[in-house]
């Protein structure tokens, strides 16, 4: 990380819903440009609420959220969503236009860019997500879920946010579709320089793609660190009823044979096996 100043600073953030439910309790997080983070925890642990605080949809009850030094409390939402984009879990909750082009153009139009600039943004976003031009006039609901998800992501990308939060990117997808979506997010991170935050229950996806894990429980952060470090603490995960991926559990069960309890992938496991066998 070359940036000394974090892109996002969350200081002592509390958030209470109008009905009195306390959803976030003393959250402190720093996020640098270029990170790939997984936000994990059970439903109701505060993951989505935190995401909505990061892009200014929700304002802190107390504490503060600073994005590029802008305080979310007194920055117009239009300014916030150009920096932090949030892609809904179910693309169908987000898509509402009659064709893909209008869908992707909605954000740029909403921030009152010229039609010329809107066109540039749409083409650019569609290109990045790999949506061919022949789909521009298509109604989003006639596309596959994978393509609908891409349209949803494109509509966020068109605002050119630095940070993209994707809520449950792989729910309802089969293995091949999940890997396709994750490889696409990896490209956005590595080739296009976007900071990616995924919210997911799939620990295999976390192990494979996220470099950092933030584990939430009952509105608080329970663990925050490198993925292998967080997954090496099964007791902390267990408190939130999560389990590390199966390959990590296998490594942990064979720790006395010399396997690393922070093993994340099958390849890592095979390499360790080779090395241990030679010894």
């Amino acid at each position: 990380m070359t940036n000394i100043n974090p892109y996002i600073q969350v200081n002592k953030l509390d958030f209470t819903y109008p009905d009195g439910t306390k959803a976030l309790d003393d959250i402190n997080v720093l996020i640098q440009i270029g990170e790939f983070i997984a936000l994990i925890g059970q439903n109701g642990s505060g993951k989505t609420t935190l995401s909505k605080c990061l892009n200014g949809l929700y304002k802190p009850t107390s504490g503060e959220v600073l994005v590029e030094s802008l305080n979310s409390k007194n920055t117009p939402i239009v300014q916030m969503v150009r920096r932090v984009g949030y892609v809904f879990q179910n693309p169908d909750h987000q898509l509402f236009n009659n064709n893909c082009w209008d869908e992707i153009a909605y954000g740029p139009r909403n921030i009152q860019l010229s039609e010329e600039e809107v066109k540039i943004r749409v083409d650019e976003a569609a290109h990045v997500v790999g949506l061919p031009e022949i789909f521009y006039e298509e109604h989003p609901f006639f596309l596959s879920k994978g393509l609908r998800q891409r349209v949803a992501i494109a509509s966020i990308l068109a605002l050119r946010p630095q940070v993209i939060i994707v809520d449950e990117p792989t729910t309802g997808q089969d293995s091949r579709q999940s890997i396709e979506i994750m490889e696409f997010l990896k490209d956005l991170n590595e080739k296009h320089g976007h900071t990616i935050i995924i919210i997911t229950h799939d620990m295999y996806i976390v192990a494979q793609y996220a470099r950092r894990v933030i584990l939430m429980s009952e509105g608080r952060i329970l663990a925050d660190g490198l993925t292998s470090d967080v997954f090496s603490q099964p007791d902390v995960l267990q408190k939130t009823f999560l389990e590390p991926p199966q390959i990590t559990q296998l490594a942990q069960s064979a720790q006395n044979l010399g396997f690393n309890p922070g093993t994340l992938t099958v390849d890592e496991m095979v390499n360790q096996f080779d090395a241990l066998k030679i010894k």
């Binding site: 059970q42 439903n43 109701g44 879920k145 729910t171 309802g172 997808q173 089969d174 293995s175 091949r176 579709q177 890997i179 229950h201 295999y204 009823f241 999560l242 389990e243 991926p245 199966q246 390959i247 990590t248 559990q249 296998l250 069960s253 064979a254 044979l257 992938t265 099958v266 496991m269 095979v270 096996f273 080779d274 241990l276 066998k277």
Partner: protein, 282 residues
């Protein structure tokens, strides 16, 4: 064991589509078995599930070839709603199935429809509430529950009808890990205590494998593999080719086998894998 579901050269093509959704399926399912159905999205899994409880051809237009026989009768020979009492269906989106204002009403709705007496209904309600752990939720409206609780209500409502066959179409897709575990716990209980025949379509193999007696693989609308669970997962090359990614431990041992470190049957669960790994270091 007796065969209770049999498909003979069964094909189904939805109206206005070019390709059949299922193409010449031959399959026998024995009573009391726990069957896992896997395959990429769009491979025909849901169509197969609907075909076994009569939703197809009953509620859909299309062209059928071959036969689907359940408990000795072709599905078309059952009267309206008769087959659904024998083969209950749970969907991945439980809300689609709710009609009542409280969980209790939801659970007794079907029983009242059958004309059961109040004491009978009460007994059935208690049984199914305990089985699915919904004791504290009976008076709540279904829409106030979490996704996992909703799915257990949906399951309970179907179970209350005491179907012999239970078909679940991606029951845990929308759930978080705790809720997913609880749904599978209920399925384990049904398998071990109630001896229902259970057919589950599921992407999450880590939870499915320990329960499944047999597995079915669909790809491109054809049944391409059907076997006892251990035998089924020895076909790693085929599974990977059609886009199935088996759990990590299985893939790890497959790599070891390819590298010549072991010639054992590939372990399919974590405890089995853990044991085999220790043996390799003898």
């Amino acid at each position: 064991m007796s065969v209770i579901i049999e498909l003979k050269d069964y094909s189904w093509k939805y109206l206005n589509t070019q390709q059949p959704a299922l193409d010449k399926i031959n399959l026998q399912i024995e009573e009391g078995m726990f069957i896992g159905i896997i395959g990429p999205n769009g491979s025909g899994k849901t169509t197969l599930a609907y075909s076994m409880n009569g939703l197809i051809p009953g509620q859909y237009n299309g062209i059928k070839n071959g036969e689907v026989v359940v408990y000795g009768r072709e599905v078309e020979q059952y009267g309206h709603g008769q087959l659904q009492k024998i083969a209950g269906m749970v969907f991945s989106d439980p809300e689609a199935q709710f009609t009542a204002m409280t969980v209790e009403d939801e659970l007794v709705f079907g029983l009242e429809n059958l004309g059961m007496s109040i004491p009978e209904i009460r007994e059935r309600l208690e049984w199914v509430t305990e089985l699915t752990g919904l004791e504290k939720m009976l008076l709540k409206p279904p829409y106030e529950l979490s996704g996992g609780q909703k799915q257990r209500v949906a399951l309970a409502a179907v179970l209350a009808m005491t179907p012999k066959i239970l078909i679940l179409d991606e029951p845990t897709t929308m759930l978080d890990p705790v809720s997913r575990r609880r749904v599978f716990d209920v399925l384990a209980k049904l398998k071990n205590e109630q001896h229902n025949t259970i057919i589950v379509i599921e992407h999450n193999l880590e939870n499915l494998i320990p329960l499944a007696d047999r597995m079915i693989l669909l790809s491109n609308n054809k049944l391409i593999l059907e076997d006892e669970t251990h035998q089924f997962f020895q076909n790693m090359e085929l599974l990977t080719k059609v886009g199935i990614y088996p759990p990590g431990a299985l893939r790890f041992f497959y790599e070891l086998k390819k590298a010549g470190y072991t010639s054992n049957t590939l372990p399919v669960t974590l405890p089995e894998a853990s044991k085999q790994l220790k043996q390799l270091f003898g």
